[in-house]
């Protein structure tokens, strides 16, 4: 088990594509880090540089206290779980698990013991003699996990390991991966584009955008204090509402309509205001801002109401037992508002 230190790492592919730019990240021993971001933001590239599958254009990656830039993947003592599992189709499940141990000259008796232990942990004992193609998707996923844990590596690297599973299995495997990682205490870096997976798995989330780190933080910190409009719109479902607004003397106006007052610490001028769907609520009688309802999504426990205030699209999350009309009046708690700079989209300190 080891800490991972990423210092000033960039990756430029042959052909000039700049996939990762100047990434700095310290991963503590035993920490579960999730890299999250939209497609093409460089998550896989960063992970593959840690694994040694991709050369590092500039900067350094250290595992433990050793700089591994020039170290072969095999010698980095990491294990990786691939999106397509990459199981060896001509080998039995047992041999798939044992392969890495045999290559490292682990004695036969130890291999037996370690494969048996991993198989028990992942409940794949009944399949040890089967070939991968005789397994379901979920079982294959477990074998891929098993292949990672038998090696007792310094770090686990996951590249979207659950994205080939159906929604229900994904949720249960997510929980299992989390428990397994806690129990083994192995440093883990997990790539996903699913913000929910990031929120539920991570000790710390790393949000990437265009090859740069947008924000690093604990899931709830990132959720409650997004560092930019990009993070605000990426983390949380439904996405945070963002609208251009005008601040004057502590009054916040969207399209001329004052939605909140008594805001302190924000300079007067044009801003982008962010508000979570659950922070917009029906107003007390006789107060509030007109909200034109466009359409409604029923989620069971919640009801998402999509509509607009002064032509700006907003979504609010309501309890399903509140009565609805075509136009309702809503109120926003001033202390729940997020403010971002108009041009850069960076969070404004309050």
């Amino acid at each position: 088990m080891s800490a991972i230190e990423i210092t000033g790492v960039s990756k430029v592919y042959a052909g000039g594509v700049r996939a990762v730019s100047d990434v700095n990240l310290s991963i503590a021993d035993g920490e579960f880090i999730v890299l999250v971001g939209p497609s093409g933001c460089g998550k896989s590239t960063l992970l593959r540089m840690i694994a040694g599958l991709e050369t590092i254009t500039s900067g350094t990656v250290s595992i433990g206290s050793r700089v591994v830039n020039e170290v072969d993947p095999a010698a980095r003592n990491i294990a990786m779980v691939f999106q397509n599992y990459a199981l060896y189709p001509h080998m039995s499940v047992y041999d798939n698990l044992a392969y890495g141990l045999r290559n490292r000259g682990v004695p036969k008796a130890d291999i037996d013991a370690r494969v048996a232990e991993a198989a028990r942990m992942l409940e794949i004992e009944p399949f040890l003699q089967r070939k991968p193609k005789q397994l379901s998707g979920g079982q294959r996923q477990r074998v891929a996990m098993g292949r990672a844990i038998v090696r007792k590596p310094d770090a686990f690297l996951f590249d979207e390991p659950l994205s080939n599973l159906d929604a229900k299995l994904r949720v249960s495997m997510r929980g299992e991966i989390r428990q397994l990682q806690r129990r083994l205490g192995v440093t883990s870096v997990y790539v996903t584009h699913d913000q929910l997976e990031a929120m539920t798995l991570a000790d710390r989330i790393v949000v990437l955008n265009g090859g740069r780190i947008e924000q690093v933080g604990r899931p709830l910190d990132v959720y409650h204090n997004p560092a930019s409009t990009f993070v605000a719109s990426f983390i949380g479902s439904p996405a945070m509402n963002l609208a251009d607004a005008e601040v004057t003397n502590g009054l916040v106006a969207i399209g001329g309509q004052v939605v909140a007052s008594g805001v302190s610490g924000v300079k007067d001028g044009q801003v982008i205001v962010g508000l979570r769907a659950e922070d917009i609520q029906p107003a007390a009688p006789g107060t509030g801002v007109p909200f034109a309802v466009r359409y409604i999504e029923e989620l069971g426990a919640l009801r998402l109401v999509h509509g607009s205030v002064e032509g700006r699209h907003l979504t609010m999350a309501l309890s399903p037992d509140l009565p609805l009309a075509d136009e309702i009046k809503v109120a926003v708690a001033a202390d729940r508002l997020h403010f971002f700079e108009d041009g850069s989209g960076r969070r404004m300190t309050r």
């Binding site: 990491i78 294990a79 392969y99 890495g100 490292r104 292949r147």
Partner: protein, 294 residues
Amino acid sequence: MQTKRTVFGNRLLPYAFLLPQLAVTVIFFLWPATQAVIQSFQREDAFGLSTTWVGLANYADLLHEPTYLNSLKVTAIFAPAVTLLSVGLGLVFAVSLDRLVRGSRVYAALLVWPYAVAPAVAGIMWWFLFNPTIGLLPYLLAAVGYRWDHSLQPTDAMILVVIAASWKQVSYNFLFFMAGLQAIPKSMIEAAAIDGAGPVKRFFTIVFPLLSPTTFFLAVINLVYAMFDTFPVIHATTGGNPAQSTNILVYKVFVDGFIGLNLGSSAAQSVVLMAIVVTLTVIQFKWVERKVTY
């Protein structure tokens, strides 16, 4: 699987479409094959005036004919040697090219070229290259102290025909191995690398096993090629000589039938050859269905 169906208005039209291919098959394969089977039970007198039914006598004679037994032996060396060399080189080239980052397209195109050269031309080319008086290779071999002469040395002659026959097959095998390699997911190789297997170990434990269906298919195809299609190569290089040392079965069919005019024996030999090829093909299909899949 879904199949597309075309409905023809005219009932005869589909048959008309099939006709050219059927005609070619009948005229150039079925008819001569039938002739061969019939002739293999007949014997002609020395002047070609009368034929008599002799039953299995032609086949029985083959078993006692030293030159035929020799030809069997020669083929048993020639065909596996051609297969081993051409499949092996095809694999080596494909794997080398797969590791190349730059320029692999150019090399691939160059490696495919030999396949476009007619076998007889290839044979003559190698004959020139190995010609004891004017050839380049004997000249080079002489420099290391070897006196090359395939017109006198049976071993030299065998090496010559094996190389000449393998040459263009390397291209064919190379293409199949390239396709096979590309079908192996990159992540599987990466997983093996992380699992601590170096390039050589990866090749033998992952890549080669995954190529085994391709390899088996090519082994059979090349065996059949070496036994059946190498007539022009032999004809252009050694003519089966010296001392029958490169007189493979298919060449002997020609020599006995068209030069020796022993049609009965020649026919019996070609029937035996056909039987061997059919057997190989059947084995291939049976195996491909079951064994080699993982």
